[in-house]
C-alpha cells in the first residue's frame, strides 16, 4: 500500500521547483485513490496528456496498486489564472446572493 507522503516525496525529487505540490489520499487512507495538484513551470510547453504521462512514468511502481488518480498539473501562469477566476466567481456569488437558500434535507434521494 502506498501513502500520500510517499508519493509526495517521490514527486518532490523531480518537481523541486514546484510552487504547489499536494497529494491527497481520497480513499480514506486505503492508499488506492489519490488527487495530485502540481504547479510547476516544468510543465510549460507540455500538453495535458504529456504532463500526465510524465507523472505515470514517475509513479510507475505506485500505479500498480493505485486504482484512481486525479491529476491537476499546471504551469505557474495557468494556476494563478485559475485562482484569479475562482476569486472573481466568489465575489460575483457574494454580490448576487441576497437571500439564504433553503436548507437541504439530510435524506438521500
Amino acid at each position: 500500500m502506498v501513502s500520500a507522503e510517499e508519493i509526495c516525496g517521490k514527486l518532490q525529487k523531480t518537481f523541486d521547483d514546484a510552487m504547489v505540490l499536494e497529494v491527497e489520499d481520497k480513499s480514506g487512507g486505503c492508499g488506492n485513490s489519490f488527487e495530485l495538484l502540481i504547479v510547476s513551470d516544468q510543465f510549460d510547453k507540455m500538453t495535458p496528456l504529456g504532463r500526465q504521462r510524465q507523472i505515470h512514468t514517475l509513479l510507475r511502481e505506485e500505479m500498480k496498486t493505485i486504482h484512481a488518480l486525479t491529476q491537476r498539473l499546471y504551469t505557474v501562469a495557468q494556476y494563478e489564472k485559475k485562482q484569479k477566476e475562482k476569486a472573481e466567481d466568489a465575489d460575483t456569488d457574494a454580490a448576487t446572493t441576497k437571500e439564504k437558500l433553503p436548507s437541504r434535507s439530510n435524506s438521500q434521494q
Binding site: 495535458p48 496528456l49 500526465q52 504521462r53 505515470h56 510507475r60 500505479m63 488518480l69 486525479t70 491537476r72
Partner: protein, 169 residues
C-alpha cells in the same frame, strides 16, 4: 538469497510486449542474471492477449470516437467514466461508442497495456489516444476539445455546445 536487480524504465510500444520482454531479458543478462535464476522468474510482465488486442484495434479503427470505460454511455459505472460521457454529450456528441471494460478482464487489463495508460476511462479519436477524464476536463475548459471534435469530423462545424445555445437564448 535476495538479489538486488535494477530494471531500467524502457520505452516500448504499448502494443509490442515481446519487445519489452526481450529488452528486459537483455538488461538482466547484462547485470549477470541468467535466465532460470529465482529472481529472474519473479519478473512478471503484463501482456495483452491477441484476442484483446484485436478487439481493441477494431474498436479504435472502426469508430471515429470511442471511449473505453466502466459501464456503458447510457449507464456509466464509475464517476470518471460518467464525467467523460457527460462532457462529450455537452459538446453535442449524441452517439458515443463505448467499450465496457467491466465485461471482460482481458480488455480491462489489455487496454492499459495497449495505450500504456494505467487507468480507465480512455478516449480515442480517429485512432489516437486523447486522454482520460482529467485531460478531457482540461480540454473542455480550454476549448481544445470542441476544436478537436470538429477538426476530426466527430462534430459538424455548425454543432453548438449547450453553453453556446444557452447564451443565444
Amino acid at each position: 538469497m535476495c538479489v538486488s536487480i535494477s530494471i531500467p524504465i524502457i520505452d516500448y510500444e504499448a502494443s509490442d510486449p515481446p519487445a519489452l520482454r526481450t529488452a528486459t531479458h537483455r538488461s538482466l543478462e547484462a547485470q549477470g542474471i541468467k535466465g532460470g535464476s529465482a529472481a529472474y522468474q519473479f519478473i512478471s510482465i503484463r501482456s495483452i492477449t491477441a484476442k484483446a488486442k484485436a478487439t481493441i484495434d477494431d474498436a479504435v479503427k472502426q469508430n471515429d470516437l470511442v471511449v473505453f470505460m466502466k459501464g456503458t454511455p447510457d449507464e456509466p459505472m464509475c464517476g470518471f467514466s460518467r464525467a467523460v460521457v457527460q462532457i462529450l454529450q455537452m459538446h453535442g456528441v449524441d452517439e458515443i461508442a463505448g467499450v465496457d471494460c467491466l465485461q471482460d478482464p482481458e480488455i480491462r487489463e489489455g487496454i492499459k497495456e495497449y495505450t500504456d495508460w494505467p487507468t480507465i476511462p480512455q478516449v480515442y479519436v480517429k485512432g489516437e489516444f486523447i486522454g482520460g477524464c482529467d485531460v478531457m476536463v482540461q480540454m473542455h475548459q480550454s476549448g481544445e476539445l470542441h476544436e478537436l471534435l470538429v477538426k476530426e469530423g466527430v462534430l459538424k462545424p455548425e454543432a453548438e455546445t449547450e453553453q453556446e445555445s444557452e447564451k443565444k437564448e
